[in-house]
């Protein structure tokens, strides 16, 4: 029993340093973002094809996005919101609403003066944009919601 205990202690003293060194190294790599593999993902902007995302830019403190109305109908946009999963979430001044949007027309939208949401230069962010609209020619004007996502590096 005594020999077993000695062996266990010797094992820990021999390899304990190795465990500590490895743990500290991994912790340091994680802290400095080396293990943040998301930065190797491509930047993209995903919206349903009916309001396709053509381009975007993340220039702090603004978020710019260019969309095209592929619905085949003229619509009136009633709200545009941007958020993300950070605490507190990003807060921006959205484009002025309501406005009409003719079909097959591209529009540039600027979410200005953004704050919070860890939206800082050289940081990787994932932003969710929600748009509500209704078709002008539908009698009861039912409001529809479309969600899109921008994943990219702020500059």
């Amino acid at each position: 029993m005594g020999k077993n205990g000695q062996a266990a202690l010797e094992y820990l003293t021999t390899y304990g340093w190795a465990f500590i060194t490895i743990s500290v190294t991994i912790g340091a790599l994680y802290y400095f973002g080396v293990l943040d593999f998301s930065k190797y993902l491509p930047q993209n902007c995903i919206f349903p094809s009916q309001l396709r995302c053509l381009d975007f830019s993340l220039r702090v403190p603004n978020v710019n996005v260019k969309l095209i109305n592929n619905l085949g109908e003229d619509i009136k946009v009633t709200s545009m919101q941007i958020t993300n999963d950070a605490t507190p979430p990003i807060s921006c001044t959205p484009p002025a609403v309501p406005f009409d949007w003719v079909h097959a027309v591209e529009k540039d939208f600027i979410f200005a003066s953004c704050s919070g949401g860890a939206y800082l230069s050289d940081s990787r962010v994932e932003l969710k944009i929600s748009i509500t609209y209704y078709a002008i020619n539908t009698p009861s004007n039912p409001v529809h919601l479309i969600n899109g996502k921008i994943n990219g590096r702020a500059i």
Partner: protein, 157 residues
């Protein structure tokens, strides 16, 4: 007396080599898996979007074709409903709406028809008609019929 030490040293080396190979393998597999998982997640959303666009356009275009072919005309479409569709409905007889879930929320995919669309009256409430059979994934047979001079009926069979 030297022999046991040689054996022990050899075992230690092989253990270390084993650990190094495993560690290197993990160092390659973990980030690669993460990157490919994210790629595939975004691709699946685009595929669902493309599939539901094909379904919606197919129904709306066929409804117009059948309507203008005259009363009594009908056809049956075989459509593949993708995963992530939680509801389907017709609003005001001219909007075919699919609710699609994505990793960033629910989006309504809307198709506008040039002709009046309807379905079984039991599924209609005021100006909204539900199409419950189109809200689950799989192959669906959809009958489109010009039931009168005003509208095309869309039902699953």
């Amino acid at each position: 007396m030297e022999e046991p030490y040689k054996v022990k040293a050899s075992k230690g080396q092989s253990s270390l080599e084993y650990l190094l190979v495993i560690a290197l393998t993990f160092a390659l597999i973990v980030p690669t898996t993460y990157l490919f998982y994210n790629y595939s997640k975004e691709s699946s959303q685009e595929i669902t979007d493309a599939q539901i666009t094909k379904v919606g356009r197919g129904i709306v275009d066929t409804a117009a074709l059948i309507f203008y072919s005259g009363q009594g005309s009908k056809t049956v479409l075989e459509l593949i409903i993708p995963d992530n569709i939680v509801s389907a409905e017709i609003i005001d007889g001219r909007e075919l709406v699919f609710n699609m879930t994505t990793s960033f929320g629910v989006s309504e995919i809307v198709f506008f028809s040039s002709v009046n669309m309807t379905t079984a009256t039991s599924n209609c409430n005021a100006n909204v008609c539900n199409l419950p059979d189109l809200a689950s994934k799989g192959v669906k047979k959809v009958k489109i019929e010009a039931i009168n001079k005003d509208s095309s009926s869309i039902t699953t069979i």
